[in-house]
Amino acid sequence: MAHVEQTAPPAILREVKPAILPRAELVEHGRSFTWITEKICGIVEGQTPTWWWWCFAVACFVASFTFAGITYLVATGVGVWGHRNPVNWGWPIVNFVFWIGIGHAGTLISAILCLLRQKWRTSINRSAEAMTIFAVVCAGIFPVFHVGRVWYAWFLFPIPNSNAIWQNFRSPLEWDVFAVSTYGTVSVLFWYVGMIPDLAVLRDRFQEKGRRVRSFCYGLFAMGWRGSNRHWSNYEMAYLILAGIATPLVLSVHTVVSFDFAVALIPGWHTTIFPPYFVAGAIFSGFGMVLTLMLPLRSIYRLEDLITQYHIDCMCKITLATGTMVGYAYAMEFFIAWYGANPFEGFTFINRAFGPYAWAYWIMISCNVITPQFFWFKSVRRNTTMVWVLSLFVNVGMWFERFVIICTSLTRDFLPSSWGYLSPTVVDIFTFFGTFGLFSVLFLLFIRFLPLMAIAELKVVTPQADVHGPHGTPEHATGFGDPVEVEQGGPSPKH
């Protein structure tokens, strides 16, 4: 029966004899399937390490700052934040855009790299997606409380108010509600669907150990997954589609966030470069955060075989590319301000670099434009400590970028009579500082209770998963690596 179609490689390949490029191993030291399962499940099954308790306690303490800040705000009023005329969009929106941006690398790794068949995503996608979700949680706090009377936050959703008036759907702020809530929902779904097979693994392992409560909990969410290939077939298709829709989603979310600014007429905001520039910045900051989180985890849990040097290299290179794009956007903003010959626009940019917020501007430039340039050097990329330190600078720089965009434009708009200077209050600072604690609490719970890496996907990228023997055989290296297509001549027995 001719079910298997024999697709020969194009004839040209036989003539030109393409060079065989060695591919970096994605799981080093030829680890077996069982090793991968044991390694990842071991993190969940083992005793809670002491460092975890310490970190958890500290994170809870830090998170309490956000709760205290918000409680005080709700009890007193938004006046406790540093918002005054003319800056009515201060820290909360800076923090919102910052956290949403952090989230973007998670979706980028999961979705865009999945579509581009970048197999190195497999060992970092799970935790990057978790990072996305927790970042969106942190981000959501700010706009919700920024509305002032938080109990009226439901006004943002498409429900007519008591006068039967609907929301103004022409407003980018309303678009934001839809973009961010869709993003949050789809990220959770994507994360959860990716985790189902791994939850089934944990369910079975805990059942065998006789730990019925945990087995029940994992089993409940594993939905009775049993590894059936008929299921895998639908599952993989669904996963691919989710990746396909998450890709335009992630790009659109930061585009819509940038519309909040670009649709306004304030000099420095009213530019068409904002959507791509914000997206590049988001990916840049997101990768900065992925590196910040993954490098310590890698060394604590001895995951060097799974998060290899190749993975770090790839992430550094993306950080370099997006950081350079961000640098280009800064230069282009300046150029257009001059070339556009709009005096207000021109003034805004001169003011950014040399005005009262020059300190913030130059922090931004040094962290976002200069820092990533170190990643050109292999020696830097190979030095884990250095990469980690640089990734911290990226995070700092991207917060300042949002601060500079928002504050320099609002404090110096058209009329000097309405100029001002924004200083944050203690409540502002505490609320923002606390979100790092909230983020860490959620992330620590994640690494303790859920599989840190996609076990099934990691197995797929090992050589022994291939039905026709290890990768690296000439058939695979030509790029026609689909096992079915190399039916003849493969190392497998003929039938």
């Binding site: 779904l189 009775g224 059936s228 298709m237 659109s252 689909d482």
Partner: protein, 177 residues
């Protein structure tokens, strides 16, 4: 009285063995059978003779529904039910309705895809004969199984067992329903 038979399960040690065995079971004309693998084995769908998944069609329906929902919601709310002039802009224009419709397209597609996948797979199903097999945990780890169900018209305990043995299966065990 002995319990009813659900089917036969055979163990395979690696993906090539499973792949070739799957081809043999397929060629023998079985319909109600399955492979149990710890990860999606590439090429196995064709070796099993499975058709392309129909999940994308469900997603498409979800996407179109989402887009129409967005457009209709905005037209109905701002252009029909309570006409509201803001900034001298028209009551309704697909231009400003687009971002929200776009997001809703994605949201509805995601739900359609996931719900469609679960329905097609018959999940959640927390109780299944295969899950009662005492070695099934290894099927989530590093071992591969082929299960041939007794409801298959070609199923015959002796013949099916012989086929699985010939295909290289070890530890062929009868599963209770």
């Amino acid at each position: 009285m002995a319990a009813q038979t659900y089917g036969l399960i055979a163990t395979f040690d690696n993906t090539p063995a499973l792949y070739h065995a799957a081809q043999q079971v397929r060629d023998a004309g079985y319909k109600n059978w399955d492979c149990i693998t710890p990860f999606p084995v590439h090429g196995l769908d064709r070796a099993m003779g499975l058709r392309r998944s129909i999940v994308p069609r469900i997603s498409l329906v979800g996407g179109i529904t989402g887009f129409c929902t967005g457009m209709l919601l905005i037209w109905w709310a701002n252009g029909f039910e309570y006409k509201l002039i803001v900034g001298g802009k028209p009551y309704f224009s697909p231009m400003f309705a687009f971002p929200i419709s776009y997001e809703l397209t994605i949201l509805f597609t995601a739900f359609a895809t996931i719900i469609g996948m679960f329905v097609l797979n018959g999940l959640p199903m927390h109780y299944h004969p295969v899950l009662k097999y005492d070695q099934i945990r290894r099927g989530m780890d590093d071992t591969f199984f082929i299960v041939v169900e007794a409801r298959d018209p070609r199923f015959n305990l002796a013949n099916t067992k012989a086929l699985l043995e010939k295909a290289g299966g070890r530890e062929i065990v009868e599963l209770e329903a």
